[in-house]
């Protein structure tokens, strides 16, 4: 494996292996940007990995009043799942429990797509018969009477099956605090890229996994080759001076968006990483046989 060194950071000659997924986008608005963000944050909460959380969710970006259907501040959230059918119960529960309930909120489709999922199918019945719809052009909006006025929710939302989940960067460091700072900066750079989310806490995973386990019933277990405390005990991927590894996982509406996000993350790590103790950047894969999408780090260098 021939690695490249840029600005004091070694970039492994490897690739991130990602999977085809289904995804939908929603626009959540509220009276203030603060409340649109509260609603979107709660709605995308516990949305880290499809393995245990049902869907991978995150905030794509904030929207100005000009960009939302109702002229109020808003946030675009993305939800990723194995299939449109797998997204349905997640959509119903998250919108029903977190958006309908949030003061002043409204919920609209945030992804133009020929295929759609019912968005208001559950929440509108909260109206107990007092709900009414207004169809304007091709869009139908439901108005559900609630205690602070009306909850407006669009009838359908677009869903795509061309989304990609599992784009990633592994950041290897000599200093734990510096590594976290540098990785946070990379997540912030990725947040500027459209159509992607980093679903883990703050965009960062510390418990990278490998497929399989010695225990029956566990489908994934710790990625021992990247665990610094096992350096001498297992066939390690880590050099002697690496004391911690953090991973950024990226889901995107298109393969191009994921590549753009990885490129932005790499650029940030190369520009500011070495000073913070970032020694290497690598990527996670399963040998190339499991995922349809491969992102080679050397192709994404700035």
């Amino acid at each position: 494996m021939s690695a490249i060194t840029r600005n004091g950071v070694t970039i492994d000659d490897t690739f991130a292996e990602a999977f085809g997924m289904s995804a939908l986008g929603l626009i959540i608005t509220a009276d203030t940007a603060k409340w649109a963000n509260i609603c979107a944050t709660v709605m995308t909460g516990f949305g880290t990995s499809v393995i245990g959380a049902g869907a991978e969710c995150g905030i794509d970006r904030e929207l100005s009043p000009d960009e939302t259907p109702d002229g109020r501040p808003g946030v675009r959230v993305l939800m990723f799942g194995f299939s449109p059918d797998a997204l349905k119960p997640q959509l119903l529960n998250r919108v029903g429990q977190c958006v309908l309930t949030s003061p002043g909120s409204a919920c609209f489709n945030g992804l133009d797509s020929p295929t759609t999922l019912p968005l208001a199918a559950g929440p509108r019945f909260f109206g107990d018969g007092w709900q009414t719809a207004k169809k304007l052009g091709k869009q139908r909006f439901w108005r559900v009477p609630v205690m602070d006025g009306e909850f407006v929710i669009e009838d359908k939302c677009g869903v795509t099956t061309d989304a990609v989940g599992g784009g990633n960067l592994l950041v290897l460091g000599r200093d734990r605090a510096g590594l976290l700072e540098a990785t946070e900066a990379a997540v912030a750079a990725i947040a500027e890229v459209r159509d992607v989310i980093t679903p883990f806490p703050g965009g960062i995973v510390r418990s990278g996994s490998k497929v399989g386990s010695k225990y029956k019933g566990a489908i994934a277990s710790t990625n021992d080759a990247f665990c610094p405390t096992l350096k001498g005990a297992v066939k390690s991927e880590l050099d002697a001076d690496i004391i911690a590894v953090l991973e950024i996982v990226i889901d995107g509406l298109t393969s191009e968006a994921v590549a753009n996000a990885m490129r932005a993350g790499l650029k940030s790590l190369i520009e500011a990483g070495a000073a913070k103790g970032v020694a290497r950047v690598s990527a996670g894969n399963y040998g190339g046989n499991l995922g349809q999408h491969h992102y080679h780090l050397k192709d994404l260098l700035p």
């Binding site: 259907p69 109702d70 002229g71 007092w130 009414t132 052009g137 108005r143 006025g149 009306e150 407006v152």
Partner: protein, 269 residues
């Protein structure tokens, strides 16, 4: 854009049915064929060539230069393209229209845009009774699309209307939105007496109402998110024809409580 022009030579004595004059139907025909199209059938048959001078090239647009309330069914069944009428027309204009634009630079008669599903109707003058209404035998009146009237509208507009938007700078006559089941009637001036008899669902928007039915209940003043959506939608689709954006607060009157009462009159002033 090529335009086919029809100029009325003399005022007609009988009602003419202009539903055959649609850009999509005439696009493939020669002027000779177009002149043979019937406007009245039967013993007193009248063809296009008997009353109109036809000129220009068939294409996406028709221009009708005529001013007679005996011109019925103008733009009826219009699916694409543009029809412009320099003058007034009779009844049933834009009936069953599904797309395109009908511009009437005069007045329109009764039953404008009945059973229309889409497209835009723009009347420079006023419109008659039963605009977007259901004729005997129709299950519903207006089913979609947008109607903009710059003058006043007659009585019982939106009778059995199900969807779509009707906007006027002027007033609606008596009993607008009667038996309406959905859609939006929007006036920048006001409604005549007793709007919304047996209104089931749908929205009537006005700064004032001449006389309210006793079966409408005052629900108070509210700032509704749907008003922003509606204002932005009409601004986007109608451009300069759009009414002024709705104010943040409106007074909601729910009714008609003589039936299911899920409709509303929204008072903007």
């Amino acid at each position: 854009m090529s335009t086919l022009s029809f100029t009325l030579r003399a005022a007609p004595k009988h009602a003419l049915d202009l539903s055959g004059l649609l850009p999509s139907r005439l696009a493939q025909l020669s002027t000779g064929d177009i002149e043979k199209l019937p406007l009245v059938t039967g013993v007193h048959a009248i063809n296009v060539g008997d009353v109109f001078t036809v000129s220009g090239t068939p294409g996406d647009a028709l221009a009708i230069s005529a001013d007679s309330t005996l011109l019925d069914y103008v733009g009826a069944g219009l699916d694409q393209g543009t029809i412009t009428v320099e003058g007034s027309v009779g009844n049933h204009a834009a009936r069953g229209m599904t797309g395109g634009t009908l511009e009437i630079r005069g007045n329109a008669g009764a039953y404008l845009a009945s059973t229309a599903k889409g497209g835009l109707v723009h009347v420079k003058g006023s419109a008659g009774d039963f605009l977007g209404g259901a004729r005997p035998g129709d299950k519903f009146g207006l089913l979609g699309g947008t109607v903009v009237v710059e003058g006043n509208i007659g009585e019982r507009a939106g009778e059995r209307m199900r969807r779509g938007i009707v906007v006027t700078r002027g007033t609606f006559g008596a009993a607008a939105g009667s038996r309406m089941v959905g859609g939006t009637l929007w006036t920048e001036t006001g409604f005549g007496p007793r709007p919304g008899p047996l209104l089931r669902r749908g929205t009537l928007i006005a700064p004032k109402v001449d006389e309210l039915l006793p079966t409408f209940a005052d629900c108070g003043r509210h700032d509704l998110v749907i008003l922003n959506i509606l204002s932005r939608y009409v601004a986007k689709t109608l451009g300069p024809l759009a009414p002024k954006p709705l104010p943040p607060m409106v007074r909601k009157l729910a009714g008609d409580r003589a039936t299911i009462g899920k409709g509303e009159i929204l008072l903007t002033a």
